[in-house]
């Protein structure tokens, strides 16, 4: 009995391998897309943090003090002074054109006011229409202003005869020491790629599962498919999907290796846990793919459904905008996305390196998605036999 089942699975498996070779989409949709994404994202975020972003200055004073400040600003990691402008209007227009992400305005008599303690104000403007550039530059320029102010204070206090030891304690009595857990460089690659790559993986698993099954219905080869599997739906599905399970798991593991070994992104647990999470992620999305094509069971509708759900996964992983900060009605769907649970495992294990007990529940949830195909077994089998659904 079991032997027969295994034979049926093996036959379907072989049939599927032949089909995969016969059409380019199977390898383009797996190896092709994933390879492109690996190359794209790994080269795209190579820098970790955007550095030397273009900013402008409007220097009405043009004194040695203002020029020194501009030089200091240019020497910071994030900002690069690319243009000197004559007026506020000109600077604003450059900002609207997108040529600069921020500008600093230094008023007339800045130097004279500084030297005679008249407290001149430094004004700067950042463009948060580009949120990442804007907020990084705001931090950078604020820091440089504080530093300039600090140097000024130091000078004055020294002149007042305050002793060297208490100068720093007077300038900055309370210091904030920040610890960025798991990602001390605030590296965007670490932050984004750990979800983007599995995100593309889940999208392709979903689409290819639906295509592999849906195309049988569309091209009316489904009866032959079932016959190969000795009319066992279980064998038909297992044999058909197994090549993709293997293929996508390997592709996912390559992503893990690229991130943790090649890029040296933080990995505070064994890589084995991430491999396991990747494997379960593939299984979970294959199960959802079967559910979707079983529900419709029309290739076109299945693909549309998968597109909708698969793209939402990037939102519902919760790595950009945290789920619990979304409107309550939007929050409830997040648990329905396996990538959400994968993300939790990644945060717990790779990023924070906490004990595996915290993550076991998410492994179990990922695994539990695999029961979904049972609900449409019968419906899918009927569709495969009667082929009575529209193919368009």
């Amino acid at each position: 009995m079991l032997n027969d089942l295994l034979k049926a699975i093996a036959k379907t498996f072989k049939r599927e391998l032949k089909r995969m070779i016969g059409r380019p989409i199977y390898f383009l949709g797996s190896i092709g897309v994933m390879a492109f994404c690996y190359i794209f994202f790994l080269t795209f975020f190579n820098e970790g943090q955007p550095t030397r972003m273009p900013i402008g200055v409007v220097d009405h004073d043009n004194s040695s003090v203002s020029r020194q400040f501009i030089r200091n600003l240019d020497a910071t990691q994030q900002a690069k002074v690319v243009m000197r402008l004559n007026s506020h209007t000109e600077a604003r227009e450059e900002m609207q054109k997108g040529n600069i992400y921020a500008f600093v305005e230094i008023g007339h008599n800045f130097e004279a006011d500084v030297l005679s303690y008249r407290r001149p104000t430094l004004t700067f403007y950042v463009n948060d229409g580009y949120l990442i550039a804007g907020s990084l530059l705001l931090k950078d320029i604020t820091y440089m202003s504080a530093l300039t102010s600090g140097a000024m204070q130091q000078q004055v206090l020294r002149a007042k005869g305050v002793d060297e030891n208490s100068i720093m304690a007077t300038i900055q009595p309370v210091v904030l020491d920040t610890h960025l857990i798991g990602n001390p460089w605030a590296n965007y690659g670490i932050y984004l790629l750990n979800v983007l790559l599995p995100g593309v993986l889940q999208l392709m698993v979903l689409l290819m599962t639906i295509f592999a099954i849906g195309v049988e219905l569309k091209e009316k080869t489904s009866r032959q498919w079932l016959r190969t599997a000795d009319n066992s739906m279980f064998a038909a599905l297992t044999g058909k999907l197994l090549p993709y399970t293997v293929l996508f798991t390997i592709l996912g593991m390559i992503a893990n290796i690229l991130l943790y070994s090649y890029m040296h992104y933080p990995l505070h647990s064994g890589i084995g846990w991430m491999f396991l999470a990747t494997f379960l992620l593939v299984l979970a999305y294959q199960a959802i793919g079967v559910l979707m094509i079983g529900l419709t069971p029309v290739l076109r509708d299945g693909v549309c459904l998968a597109a909708f759900y698969g793209l939402l996964a990037f939102t519902y992983a919760g790595f950009t905008f945290p789920i619990e900060q979304m409107p309550p009605a939007a929050q409830i769907f997040s648990e329905l996305f396996p990538i959400r649970h994968y993300f939790r495992i990644y945060v717990n294990e790779a990023l924070h390196g906490v004990s595996i007990e915290y993550s076991i529940i998410y492994f179990v949830i990922l695994l539990s998605f695999t029961i979904l195909p049972l609900f449409i077994f019968y419906r899918l089998k009927k569709a495969a036999i009667y082929q009575n659904y529209p193919i368009k």
Partner: protein, 419 residues
């Protein structure tokens, strides 16, 4: 003779327009007769903008739960924690005696940050030394990190300034002089164009343009795949209209997509930003003028690529992930100035890249059309180039179709004597 010629060409023109109009009407019919295309052109265009705007409606994080570890247990440490708790960004939900306990709460994801005040905090403040406060930030989402930094930075700086004045006073520096020394060069930061530093205000404009670009791309691809599957020669276009018919077909079909999406643009780029209060300071006339080349470039780009699509569904399967790539290529999140040159050049190929940049500049930053010559001209160039490539591609397909038809005819003629 000349008059006759003129009448003839007028007649010709008239018939050309009739043909084009026939193609237009026909295409309109096939759009609405195809459930798959209706889902993409109508359903997705309607739902996606609403859905994503609703999900990101909250714009910023408020009251992110954090923990506090107060080993100082002094008047000052309590004051600092009270201030941090009172900020909009974070909320101190639990206080622990040791850092280990706080770490446990953090590991269990109950809190997304920890403020640690060491035991010697108050003593250092009272003895004129520099005191240190530690903030531990959750980096799983940078928005947590941002909330934590904003709140703790602001409150610590505030307390620091307060202590500074006291210390200056103690050193005999008082009044106006003390405030001058405590802050000799005050600064004034102004956040422009997204004053609330909102996440939706920053991301949604790009997503809206991307929705137009991608639904057009997939819809047109699906239509092409269908006509291929239904066509008996498995080529894209039937060669009923010969010589010059290519233009009539392309313009007729293009016009159909253009008018559908012109209507959608009022909804996606006009109505949605108003309803969800996303940035909308653009001049509507400029926006309209910008939209024309964007839609045309997108349509012809999609029509060109659609020629290579053998089936209804394959385009969507193979290129869906590209929506994500396009979002990053647009230079809205990762600044354009920092995108590697080769990817910038690659990004230029897609109307979405210039479309997003241009739309954001007009509608978020309030630029006029003459401020964005690069995007505007690029889109017209793309319109021209992709129109040409569409023509070539259609020509190629029509020749293929004609050849196949001729071949079939020949075969049939050969078959007759045999029978």
């Amino acid at each position: 003779m000349a008059l006759q010629h003129k009448i003839f060409s007028l007649h010709q023109l008239n018939s050309n327009m009739k043909d084009t109009f026939a193609v237009f009407v026909n295409e309109f019919r096939s759009v609405f007769n195809d459930r798959g295309v209706v889902i993409i052109f109508i359903f997705a265009s309607l739902i996606y903008p609403l859905l994503y705007s609703a999900i990101y409606k909250n714009e910023i994080l408020v009251n992110v739960p954090i923990a506090a570890v107060d080993c100082s247990r002094s008047h000052r440490s309590a004051e600092l924690l009270r201030h941090i708790d009172a900020t909009q960004e974070v909320n101190i939900v639990s206080t622990f005696a040791t850092l280990d306990e706080a770490q446990e709460a953090y590991n269990a994801r109950k809190v997304h940050g920890v403020i640690y005040i060491p035991a010697d905090f108050d003593k250092k403040l009272n003895t004129g030394q520099q005191a240190t406060i530690s903030a531990y930030c959750d980096m799983s989402s940078f928005l947590y990190y941002r909330a934590m930094m904003l709140a703790s930075n602001y409150c610590v700086l505030d307390m620091s300034n307060q202590v500074q004045i006291e210390r200056l006073n103690a050193q005999g520096i008082t009044g106006e002089e003390a405030s001058i020394i405590s802050n000799p060069i005050p600064y004034d930061d102004t956040i422009l164009y997204n004053g609330g530093t909102g996440f939706a205000s920053f991301l949604m404009p790009a997503v809206l343009i991307l929705i137009i670009h991608q639904t057009l791309f997939f819809g047109i691809g699906m239509l092409a795949g269908t006509s291929r599957e239904e066509n008996r020669f498995h080529v894209l276009v039937n060669s009923k209209l010969n010589n010059g018919g290519t233009y009539r077909i392309i313009i007729g079909k293009g016009a159909c997509y253009f008018f559908i999406y012109l209507a959608w643009s009022f909804y996606i780029l006009g109505f949605i930003p108003h309803i969800f209060n996303l940035p909308h300071i653009g001049n509507p006339i400029d926006l309209l003028f910008f939209l024309i080349p964007f839609l045309l470039a997108t349509i012809f780009f999609s029509m060109t690529v659609s020629v290579f699509q053998p089936n209804r569904e394959t385009g969507m399967i193979l290129f869906l992930f590209f929506s994500l790539i396009l979002l990053f290529l647009s230079g809205i999140s990762w600044p354009r100035s920092n995108i590697p040159g080769i990817w910038q050049a690659f990004g230029w190929l897609f109307p979405a890249t210039n479309g997003i940049q241009g739309y954001v500049k007009i509608n978020t930053l309030g630029a006029d059309l003459h401020h964005i010559p690069f995007e505007y001209i690029s889109l017209w160039i793309q319109t021209g180039i992709y129109f040409l490539t569409t023509t070539w591609a259609y020509h190629w397909q029509m020749n293929k179709s004609r050849k196949k038809a001729e071949k079939k005819e020949m075969e049939q003629m050969e078959l007759v004597p045999n029978a």
